[in-house]
């Protein structure tokens, strides 16, 4: 499942996408994110019949992603994103 967490407002689309078919809940993204945007749950909240752990974007962060992710996204010379790099299965992507 492609799970999009975030929002769209007048300034743009701010979504983090987690491909739950790739994610195995290894928690690498949780420790990589300097703003603690990720959590790993034992069960996918959007797929109650699946029983493997999965990463989600923390509910308290998903309505402010533009600002939470800001420090990792400088306009000049952006370096690769820690969460995207940390994920061994390329399950994390950003819409902006």
């Amino acid at each position: 499942m492609l799970a999009n967490y975030g929002y769209k407002d007048a300034s743009g689309d701010f979504f983090i996408t987690i491909d739950t078919d790739k994610c195995n809940g290894c928690s690498e993204c949780v420790s990589a994110c300097p703003m603690s945007c990720f959590e790993v749950l034992d069960e996918d909240p959007n797929d109650p019949l699946r029983e493997d752990p999965v990463a989600i974007v923390s509910p308290v962060k998903k309505k402010s992603l533009k600002y939470e992710c800001g420090p990792c996204k400088p306009t000049a010379d952006p370096s690769p994103l820690p969460c995207v790099q940390a994920c061994p299965r390329q399950a994390v992507s950003h819409s902006w």
Partner: protein, 297 residues
Amino acid sequence: MTEETKQEFWRWTESNYRNPDLDWNSAKHITVGVDVGSVSSQAVIMADGAVLAYGNMRTGADSPNSARNALKYALDAIGDMPEERMDYCIGTGYGRVNVPFADRSITEIACHARGANFIYGPQVRTVLDVGGQDIKAIQCDERGKVTHFLMNDKCAAGTGRGMEVFADLLGVPIQKVGDRSFDYKGEEPEAVSSTCVVYAKSEATGLLRKGWSKEQVLAAYCKAMAERIYALIERVGVKAEFAVTGGMAKNRGVMDRVMPMVGLDRMQTDYDTQIAGAAGAALFGYALCQKGKGRKK
């Protein structure tokens, strides 16, 4: 002293229903789904995976009470079934963690996909849920399992609550908003420039001052909502068949403006589109009971 009484145009009708062909006495599993949304609450009672009864009410300021009231409303429709007869209850929606009698909660994303699969049939691949305070665009497979989803729950623009505000502003009963927006016979007006409910309201007030008719303003607002909704659908992508759930599915003014952009016809159903989330929850409850994961008695 005289007190002012004013008609509340935003008030939509609450309803309950009982399926006369089903008998709860002979059912093996009675499962209940309770969807406590930001604007409306539904309780669907299912007998072995078929809708036995439902209640659809407005949510008050108190989620636990709204959940209780919705369940009571559905039980009233049946009449003689005791509450203790229910085998498993799942809460969903915004207030899902506040349903006191629920055995567990499941997100509304999973429930809406499952519910749309039930209400519209397994051919549904794209589900659009326009609720009271959020918009969900979901792609699912033939079993109603979510494959791609996006929810905008940060802003109420383009949602049911925004339409209630406009109904009240223009003094048009909410059920008639859709038809009235097509009563304007001139050229289709431009969409109001802002979809933010608060700004759109002040823009609409300005348009009324300029001499626009109510119908013209409604058309402009419905168009703005349609454009906003479509922008979200676009991100997820559209696959046939396309189904709409939630209260906005009853608003022709918005839906008949969204569908040409989508390029498909939306599926039709005899069920109340607002019960999709609660129906999905009840179906998950039934699936869990069948797997032997129901409530320990």
